[in-house]
């Protein structure tokens, strides 16, 4: 917790408000919140099926699949950004086909969302997979004998049971998306209001105005703490003792 104290001790409180309410800061914060939320939703959309496959099926390539899902965790974000460029960029693997469809991702907010989703997805998948595994499948088996088809079991038993795991996965993904820097910079660029998220803004401010950078960092921290706190408050009270 010391590092936080250290940051706080460096904040120039006299100018704090003016520092964080500058046009560019507000734009960056707004963009960050928007894109992080969209990315979190995308992580849920893609991550829930992945987690289910990893936790509930058993096939030869599964170990490899799990490792690949973890990839963005270990890839330094900048390398991740390069990989994304090679994939979705104009000359990338998919880029040409996307261009034919008239979709242009480069330097757009879409690219920011892709970068954030890419780095945040493993967090959701892993938290959720762990939760699904430790929930076991006894309740699912019971539900099946009560006549519930797999879709119903998923919706009414599996997901509610692993809700705490899903929520903490979402919190983690959101936090990771909010803090994402390297991949965004490399893949999406940095233009105010379009692709320059709060971490990019902080990085840039640091060059000329370290006070502003510190103040913005603190804003980022506060936002993250709020999100995490709220998410944990919304959790349903858990099981019981013996």
């Amino acid at each position: 917790m010391l590092p936080l104290a250290a940051i706080i001790s460096q904040v120039n409180w006299a100018e704090f408000l003016s520092l964080i309410t500058s046009d560019s800061s507000v734009a960056a914060l707004g963009l960050s919140l928007r894109t992080s939320m969209i990315s979190t939703v995308l992580c849920v959309v893609f991550g829930v099926p992945m987690a289910l496959v990893l936790a509930r099926t058993d096939f030869p390539g599964q170990k490899l699949l799990r490792a690949l899902v973890l990839l963005p965790l270990v890839l330094p974000p900048v390398v991740g950004g390069i990989a994304l460029l090679y994939t979705f960029g104009r000359q990338g693997l998919l880029g040409t086909s996307l261009e034919v469809l008239g979709i242009d991702i480069a330097f757009s907010t879409t690219a920011v969302v892709i970068a954030q989703t890419f780095v945040a997805l493993p967090f959701l998948v892993l938290s959720l997979e762990g939760a699904i595994r430790s929930a076991g499948n006894r309740y699912e088996a019971v539900a099946a004998t009560l006549g519930a088809r797999p879709g119903t079991v998923l919706r009414r038993i599996t997901l509610p049971l692993v809700l705490p795991g899903l929520i903490s996965g979402m919190v983690l993904s959101f936090a990771r998306a909010l803090g994402e820097f390297g991949a965004t910079l490399t893949f999406a660029g940095s233009l105010e209001g379009v692709t320059r998220t709060l971490p990019l803004e902080i990085y840039l401010q640091r060059e000329t105005d370290p006070d502003a950078a510190v103040a913005l960092s603190l804003v980022l921290v506060v936002v993250a703490v709020l999100v995490v706190g709220l998410a944990h408050r919304s959790r349903a009270p858990g099981g019981g003792a013996l």
């Binding site: 539900a143 004998t145 009560l146 006549g147 519930a148 797999p150 099981g239």
Partner: protein, 345 residues
């Protein structure tokens, strides 16, 4: 729906064939680890068998390269543990089956409430499962299994955790709902089998050792376990003129119910109440006299059960005191021939 099943699970040494007629209730009894729960798990679709096949009515549950998933079987299983869904209220647990069948929320809840009333648990409708006592949870689980209207209902020890005050009520409820419904009930309680089942199967070490109408199995047990269930003494041997002889050479004279050719495997059954206990071998009219060593004494009300190996005698407490019986003592068990039922195994 009638069930015809041949269930094989090699790793648990299970190989059982059984049928359940349309509307019939079959009780399965047997020692711990005999494979009763395994059998139910296979029928419910929770465990894949190594071989065999099963059909319920016209539906193949499993067989040659066929394996129907649990939710398509119309088979409802009440497992040995209640396993109530922890995130749903008691009412919603019971409403789960009806809702999965496609009923609306209100209709499903109304039906759930009816079933909760049946098992005398409607007062817990709004609770979470974690707030129930063991027996309360068990009753809710019974309601949940019944609410699905299954083609075949499988009940694994449904009364194990129930108190003596609700047991009769639950037994009556089950008798009502099992009437005209195909069901299998696993139990350790003879009374359950007698009152709920049309037929009883005894499974031991993965195999069926007895099968027949419940009354028949209890009155004419052919297995040691069956005899123990019925509280009867069973002696197995080979028929000889006017009785039977065991491999250890013990000879019992008895009247065969039906003419019994010599040399056939036979069972002699008699009630512990028909056994007298003597400290010295009695002389007199020809009777069955078996020298035994007392292994155990159990007082039950005014009677004392004197156990010696797998035989037992029920005598009055006064007689036991007179004889000064203690475990380890050598005594003689005496039974009149007319008290012994002899039949082919």
């Amino acid at each position: 729906m009638s069930l015809v099943a041949d269930v094989q699970v090699a790793s648990r040494g299970l190989h059982v064939q059984l049928t359940v007629e349309r509307g019939e209730t079959v009780a399965i009894l047997g020692p711990n680890g005999a494979g009763k729960s395994t059998l139910l798990a296979v029928l419910a679709g929770l465990l894949r068998p190594d071989g065999g096949s099963a059909t319920l009515g016209d539906t193949v549950l499993f067989g040659d390269r066929v394996w129907l998933p649990p939710y398509d079987r119309g088979v409802s299983l009440l497992a040995q543990e209640p396993l109530l869904f922890p995130h749903l209220s008691v009412l919603d647990n019971v409403a789960f089956g009806p809702r999965s069948r496609g009923e609306g929320r209100a209709a499903a809840r109304a039906e759930a409430l009816r079933w909760l009333q049946e098992v005398e648990a409607e007062e817990f409708a709004d609770r979470r499962p974690s707030e129930l006592s063991g027996g309360q949870a068990q009753r809710v689980a019974v309601a949940r299994a019944l609410a699905t209207h299954p083609q075949l209902l499988l009940l694994d020890e449904p009364m194990a955790a129930l108190d003596i005050a609700v047991t009769p009520a639950m037994r009556r409820t089950l008798r009502r709902v099992l009437t005209g419904r195909s069901a299998i009930i696993v139990t350790h309680n003879v009374l359950d089998a007698l009152m709920l089942a049309d037929r009883t199967i005894i499974v031991q070490a993965g195999e069926v050792v007895e099968m027949g109408s419940t009354r028949e199995v209890l009155e004419r047990p052919r297995s040691a376990f069956g005899a123990g269930l019925a509280g009867l003494n069973l002696v197995i041997g080979t028929s000889v003129g006017g009785g039977l002889v065991t491999v250890e050479g013990l000879r019992l004279s008895a009247l065969a119910e039906q003419p019994l050719p010599e040399g056939q495997e036979a069972a002699a059954v008699f009630s512990p109440r028909a056994v007298s206990v003597f400290v010295e071998a009695p002389s007199g009219s020809p009777r069955n006299v078996v020298p035994v060593t007392v292994s155990d004494l159990d007082q039950r009300g005014e009677l004392v059960s004197v156990r010696a190996g797998h035989l037992s005698a029920d005598i009055t407490a006064a007689a036991a005191a007179d004889l000064d019986l203690v475990p380890g003592m050598r005594v003689f068990f005496v039974v009149k021939s007319t008290e012994i039922a002899l039949y082919a195994r």
